[in-house]
Amino acid sequence: MALIEIKNVKKQYTSGDDVVEALRGVDISIEAGEFITIMGQSGSGKSTLLSVLGGMNHPTTGEIEMAGVKLYQLPGEKLADFRAQNLGFVFQSFNLITYLTAIENVMLPLAIVKMSNQAKKSAARQALERVGLGDKLDRLPNQLSGGEQERVAIARAIVNNPHILLADEPTGNLDSKTSEEVMALFRELNDAGQTVVMVTHNPENGAYSDRTISLKDGMVLGQA
């Protein structure tokens, strides 16, 4: 059975009297250890798909099954718990917490986990070393370059060893050289067994993934 099953997912938004169909019946199956790129133009529904996949945006209809769990059938805060235990997020604008240092940002997902502070620090240090920032643990985000901030965001996403790493336009705010470094890092993580689902509009990023799914007007256009 696939790690992620997206079955006939539709998502509608109401804007005044207008109904916007962001997703119009998406069916995707993702295996464990895959590196998937979801591509499409602005408004194609790729970010909506990622938020639905991330358990943050209830689909209007359809079903998401992840690691055998029907995501949107989880009661109340169990969905938040599922995100904490199984998912890692990398956002386009990094979304680091400005008043926390690099290591504190990476430890953030562990703040709600019952383990010793020493173990949390150790895990965060390892994650930062893994992304090549072992020497900048105590820097605040504004003391780091864009690429370094992205790496901190990636370290934060992998610190709790999630089943799935979700990334939304991770190179959107980076220059081409730094973008290549970041994509190489994603590839490296995937080679180590990490399942990665990435949304991007940059075709060059697709080269790093195992499979590219193209979206247009909320529908899957094709897979390659």
Binding site: A80, D81, L87, L110
Partner: protein
């Protein structure tokens, strides 16, 4: 890294905003502390000054139908040679539930006596308590100290033709005229005051008293209750409150309290509003941050804990500072506000703990809605902000 690490780091690294919030709440708390302390200090000062007006509870024998007046106050059924109260009974006054509210008890024995062919009224008193109660008395000469000393009203001194330092003979006993009262305009002007023990002997009323005046005052003193309590302890006596004085005192204190509470209410409201608006603004500014928290798996309760912990820390700091600044303000303002220069600032641990507790309650209550609002934020806001 725990949830409180996030709260503490946010406060530490957003100093300006948190300073504004702290100052806003601190000003509110400081105002309340200043008002409450000032009011209490002023009340205490007024109580002290009002004590100078004399007694507010009168203990007289049960009426037998005859009447006489003392200082314009009806004493009920008292005649010179009729019933008296036993002096020992007065000790029971100190055993009433509200005994701590009694500031002075002044027993008196009254009787007619002849001095140098003049009929005068001799009043036996405890000079220390009498002088404490009647602080408006001005004594020419010396205040009486021994049992052989007399204090004369100004008219009595004129009639008997004596001055401070002179001698007087009463029933064959020599007495010193220690002092003469300045004109009071009351019945005191025509009285001769002797020590209680001597007067009782001279009048043949040893161990007995004719009446007792009790000075009791404090803010919200239950004078009515005290009258009942004394009456229960001394059933043979008639105990009455001098209503006019009591009501006047309580009314003055009550007005101060009402003013203080009204001001405190307004300040509490404004303080709450400042906390609410600042916390709400802070939460709205942190939409993306809260979205990230939710996205990485924080529960709603985790978000609330972060926001409320921040509010609690700021409120505690504001409470401490507010108390300190408030007491400082009260100390500075008291000399200008109080009627007398001898007014003392009242340091009360209840106000200290109360102000910190109030700041905490206020901060948490005013932050409750912003915290709820934050916890209900859609995690997709984090993605939409991209």
């Amino acid at each position: 890294m725990k949830l409180h690490t996030i709260s503490i780091n946010n406060l530490k690294r957003r100093k300006a905003k948190m300073a504004f919030l702290t100052i806003g709440l601190m000003v509110g708390i400081a105002t309340i502390v200043t008002l409450v302390t000032l009011t209490r200090s002023m009340s205490s000062d007024i109580e002290r000054k009002m004590d100078e007006f004399g007694a507010n509870i009168l203990i007289t024998p049960q009426s037998n139908g005859l009447s006489m007046n003392y200082g314009g106050i009806s004493l009920g059924g008292v005649t010179f040679d009729q019933r008296e109260i036993l002096e020992n009974d007065l000790a029971k006054i100190k055993t009433i539930a509200n005994h701590k509210n009694i500031s002075a008890v002044s027993p008196k024995v009254l009787g007619g006596i002849t001095i140098n062919t003049h009929n005068v009224m001799l009043v036996g008193v405890h000079f220390d308590s009498e002088l404490k109660m009647k602080q408006w008395w001005k004594v020419f000469g010396n205040e009486p100290k021994t049992d052989d000393d007399l204090l004369l009203g100004t008219d009595a001194a004129k009639v008997l033709n004596v001055s401070p330092g002179d001698k007087l003979e009463i029933k064959g006993q020599q007495f010193n005229v220690a002092g003469v009262l300045e004109q009071t305009g009351s019945q005191d002007d025509s009285l001769v005051f002797a020590s209680l023990g001597k007067a009782q002997k001279l009048l043949g009323k040893e161990g007995k008293i004719t009446l007792a005046e009790v000075a009791a005052l404090c803010s919200g003193c239950p004078i009515g209750d005290m009258v009942t309590q004394i009456a229960e302890k001394i059933p043979d006596a008639k105990v009455s409150a001098i209503q006019q004085v009591v009501e006047g005192r309580l009314k003055a204190l009550d007005q101060f309290k009402r003013f203080s509470y009204a001001m405190a209410g307004v300040v509490v409201f404004i303080g709450s509003l400042i906390v609410f608006v600042t916390m709400m603004g802070s939460v709205n500014e942190r939409t993306t941050e809260i979205g990230v928290f939710r996205a990485i798996g924080f529960r709603k309760s985790h978000i609330m804990r972060i926001i409320l912990l921040e509010a609690a820390l700021v409120s505690l700091l504001a409470g401490f500072l507010g108390y300190a600044v408030g007491m400082g303000g009260a100390k500075l303002a008291l000399p200008f506000m109080a009627e007398s220069k001898n007014a003392h600032l009242i340091w009360d641990s209840t106000v200290a703990f109360g102000s910190i507790g109030l700041a905490l309650t206020l901060g948490l209550l005013a932050s409750l809605y912003p915290a709820l609002h934050a916890s209900k934020m859609d995690p997709t806001e984090a993605l939409r902000a991209l």
